[in-house]
């Protein structure tokens, strides 16, 4: 609770600070707010408090809160000289991001469908706006509108699903619903099943799983890069946390029912994400497709429900988040220098910026899942999880897709190291350096010694 309060208060303070033109103070205030909430995360550890029967701050919620807050913190650090260039309204941007974060905290900790709904919508509404904050930019406009229209559309399905489940169980409370399932296992209302499926669809849309992924590449490409970073890391993580809370706990008794469609979704997602990413010329768009494919891997945790599912998602999400932040951070810097975000802009980058190139390389290796990076541990856990049920063909399919993944992640490495090109020297501001260093350290540390995070939840 105090986490959400801290974040919203910070948002409001920032909003007012904006009104009073205290531009310099915005970032520090935000960072302090986020750090305080991180402290709250740490102090609430193991307390497992429930608020009004609506929110449950268990370790699951706290862990995901922690990772999302940390991710947001990094992203805020990246705002250095990013927004300032074209807008007066940094305070509003900050506020919106913080509001979205508040929604995310709700999403990872809800105990009631209404909270899920509110959380998702707070986050989504903020993102619709954030995607469009480059008002004069067609791509940004288009991203915003597409996201909005499709998001609103998918909300309809999510709501219909919630309604049907409510109709079947007479409650929005997750525990009640779960008890209903356990208690009436033989005579579950026929409304419940389509309700589950519709919620599956709604949440699949939010996490960008195929065939509900269509918004992802366009929106990620069109939105300002920093917002894309936020969407593809923090938001995605939150989406999975929400997904997991609902399906791994509440709907777990119906696992046999929703598993086949889930596997179908997983397979399509992996295939489309990876295969389409292969041919991209635009780094940002490639990352968008890669985020789709990662959604596929993340959904593995739902294929086999085990005590570790949540933790596996946490590890994977952490690995994915920090690697992506690195990728986007470098992308921002490269784009500022070269003006576009194609792979070609990375040509010969390693010559002048060996360390930045190295960091990006590690990020790519992590995304691709090479050992000694966090990404490998994440993938490994997912495979391990699914192999536990001996879904060998699913894993084999995933492996084939992972291979395709190697190909496109290495494209940027190839461009940086092996191609001759514009020998720009990037300007790496201090905050960027900090973010890069921290992210790389986390990526490598989790890759070499993942024990710290393996039994967190």
């Amino acid at each position: 609770m105090n986490i959400i309060i801290t974040i919203t208060v910070t948002a409001l303070v920032v909003l007012y600070a904006g009104l009073f033109k205290a531009k310099k103070a915005l970032l520090p205030i935000t960072l302090i707010g986020l750090l305080i909430s991180l402290v709250f995360v740490a102090t609430s550890w193991n307390t497992n408090q429930t608020y009004f029967g609506m929110m449950q701050m268990d370790n699951f919620a706290l862990a995901f809160s922690g990772i999302t807050i940390l991710g947001t913190l990094f992203i805020f650090l990246l705002t250095q000289n990013y927004f300032a260039a074209d807008s007066e309204n940094i305070a509003e941007y900050f506020t919106l991001i913080l509001f979205a974060l508040a929604g995310i905290i709700i999403m990872v900790s809800y105990k009631n469908m209404s909270m899920l709904f509110i959380g998702i919508e707070i986050m989504s509404v903020c993102l619709y706006i954030l995607a469009g904050i480059r008002k004069s930019n067609f791509a940004s406009n288009e991203a915003s509108l597409k996201y909005f229209l499709m998001g609103a559309f998918s909300t309809g399905f999510l709501l219909f699903g919630i309604t049907l489940i409510y109709g079947a169980t007479g409650s929005f409370d997750l525990e009640t619903i779960n008890q209903y399932l356990v208690g009436n296992y033989k005579s579950i209302s026929p409304m419940f099943y389509p309700g589950v499926i519709l919620m599956l669809i709604g949440l699949s849309f939010k996490v960008g799983a195929a065939p509900f992924h269509f918004w992802t590449p366009d929106v990620y490409e069109g939105a300002p890069t920093l917002i894309t970073t936020f969407m593809s890391t923090v938001v995605k993580t939150a989406g999975f946390a929400a997904f997991l809370r609902l399906f791994a706990d509440t709907f777990a008794p119906l696992h046999d029912f929703w598993l086949p469609p889930l596997i179908a979704i997983v397979c399509i997602t992996l295939f489309i994400g990876n295969v389409t990413a292969l041919f991209q010329k635009n780094f940002k768009r490639m990352l968008a497709y890669s985020s789709i494919s990662h959604a596929g891997y993340l959904l593995f945790s739902l294929v086999t429900l085990s005590a570790n599912s949540a933790n596996n998602v946490l590890v994977y999400a952490a690995a994915y988040t920090f690697a992506s932040i690195i990728a986007f951070a470098v992308l921002i810097m490269v784009k500022q220098k070269t003006g576009n975000d194609h792979f070609d802009s990375f040509n010969g980058l390693a010559k002048r910026n060996p360390l930045t190139a190295l960091v990006l390389t590690i990020a790519m290796l992590s995304l691709a899942g090479i050992p000694l990076t966090a990404g490998f541990i994440g993938k490994y856990l997912m495979f391990l999880n699914v192999m536990g049920e001996y879904q060998i063909f699913l894993v084999a399919f995933a492996i084939l897709n992972a291979l395709v993944g190697f190909y496109y992640y290495f494209k940027v490495i190839v461009a940086m190291y092996f191609k001759e090109g514009n020998e720009v020297e990037l300007e790496v501001p201090f905050q960027y350096k900090a973010v890069l260093v921290f992210s790389v350290v986390i990526t490598l540390f989790l890759g070499v010694y993942p024990s710290v995070i393996l039994n967190l939840i």
Binding site: M113, S114, F117, I118, E121, V125, Y128, I129, G132, K135, S136, F138, A139, N141, E142, A143, S144, L145, K146, F148, L149, A152, F153, T155, G156, L159, F160, I162, T163, L164, Y166, G167, G170, S171, F172, M191, P217, D218, V219, E221, G222
Partner: protein, 106 residues
């Protein structure tokens, strides 16, 4: 008077909501005007509202209606945001035709 009006089978409410929901979907599918599409989405939300209310009455549980209230709040928020996005887009493209928005692809 309401007492007398009861007795409609629940599944007829479901039918009705489903049909209106689908009409909303069809609207989204067939129209190109962003505003009309948005209106279709509103139609979908309303059908959900109706169904929720019906369930709420059927289950004799007020929380359903509270939820409808939240959906309305969302609808209001969405309309505000959505329409401002549409206005913003219109300023740039002089159109609200969604087919104009296809720079981002492939």
């Amino acid at each position: 008077m309401t007492q007398q009006l009861q007795g409609v089978p629940l599944n007829h409410y479901i039918w009705l909501s489903a049909i209106i929901f689908t009409i909303g979907v069809i609207g989204v599918l067939t129209r190109r005007n962003a505003i009309v599409i948005f209106m279709s989405v509103e139609l979908m939300l309303n059908s959900v509202n109706l169904l929720l209310t019906a369930f709420s009455v059927h289950n004799n549980d007020p929380s359903g209606q509270v939820f409808v209230f939240f959906i309305m709040a969302l609808a209001a928020a969405e309309v505000a945001v959505g329409l401002s996005i549409i206005v913003m887009v219109y300023r740039n493209t002089q159109s609200v035709d969604i087919n104009v928005l296809n720079r981002l692809k492939w």
